[in-house]
Amino acid sequence: MSRGGPIPIDTDVPSPIITELIYRLKVRDVMTREVKTCEVEDSVRNAQQIMKENGITGVPVVSASRLLGIVSMDDVIRALEDGRIDEPVPHYMTRSVIVLEDDMPLSFGISYLEKYRYGRFPVLDAGKNLVGIVTSRDIIIALLLEINKEVQRFEDTTRQAETEGRGFRLEYTTRKFDFEMAGRLSTETKKLLKERNFPPKIMRRVAVATYELEMNQVVHSLGGTVRVTFEPDRNEVDIEAQDTGPGIENIEDALDEGFSTANEWIRSLGFGAGMGLPNTRRVSDTFDISSSPEGTLVRVTIYIPTEEPDEAL
């Protein structure tokens, strides 16, 4: 029985995270534990009734939790065609059932779905007792939940923050073309500065510099990190943006207002106007840039007026 193309989870060369995930998860982690079953004395009609009531398309046949076979919708239809729907299930059930073991990695479940094209696989424990059933739905739900957790974990690693007294150090990782994430550093930095009663003009300059540097990495680099450091005993905010390439061909040009190498779709997002670096330099007290094909490093300092920030408001 063929139902379209193969399942698009490539178990031969998947991403390392997915491979790790489908080996880490066991069949028992994704299976439905409350299995609707019928007994050998039950008729095919009884089995069909169980399917109807539970919205399922196959019912394992058991005797004292031993699996004897499985009755599927197809078997019910065959019995109907024969006019023998009231016969006991063993006459129509499939006896050579493909089963999974509860401690198998989930990857087996996925490859079984592909290999055998059944809608469901009964799950047996080490003692050969029926302990669950796995459908493609169970696998999809379990995978989605796990992938969500993985993404959350990944996003957590893109942010590092330390605070010590009034001082703080905040670092975010940027990724190429990840526009949604860009701006998180400047938003959080501004919040931290606000809590510390920085003068509004300083807050704005720091926010503009961090935002432009974040955006520059998202638009032009392969990704990198932007770090903001404030040490209270030094009256300055330091910003350091380091990316992993491909470097700026001509730094003089890049510092020219309006010079841009951004393409049309980046411009359609409101960026790439060739103002990123000039804007950053405009709001900085010191501005250093160095670039090679291995990466670009921008260092910016913004001085805080010497009067106490609290009074400066």
Binding site: F179, E180, G183, S186, T187, R204, V208, L269, G270, G276
Partner: protein, 111 residues
């Protein structure tokens, strides 16, 4: 001009509600967020036909009083959520950017 008066003049719909009595004394009109970041004003209304999350990030950095989307742009839920969490009022008007500018042109002299 207050946000209430502005909303009335451009028949805007409030997407993320805010204090209608908030006043702005200038208007910055741009679809290029880099240009918005260059402005020196801080009590202005940002008018743009760009409806991306970066509009909210930019408005927050430069302390815009509110964002008015032109040309009937409808924000994505993520944009709406970000504006709400940053406490930036968000409005949308079906008028073109030009007509919005015409309707708000007097705001500088009036204040």
């Amino acid at each position: 001009m207050t946000l209430k008066e502005c909303a009335h003049r451009v028949t805007a719909e409030w997407i993320v509600p805010g204090d209608e009595a908030v006043e702005f004394h200038d208007v910055v009109v741009s679809d290029l967020m880099s240009d918005v970041l260059v402005t020196e004003h801080d009590d202005f209304l940002l008018v743009t036909s760009l409806a991306s999350e970066q509009v909210v990030r930019t408005a927050d950095i430069v302390d815009a009083r509110a964002i008015l989307l032109a040309n009937g742009k409808r924000p994505q839920p993520a944009l709406k959520q970000l504006a709400a969490s940053q406490g930036i009022p968000l409005l949308t008007s079906t008028l073109s950017t030009f007509d919005i500018c015409r309707a708000l042109a007097g705001c500088k002299d009036e204040s």
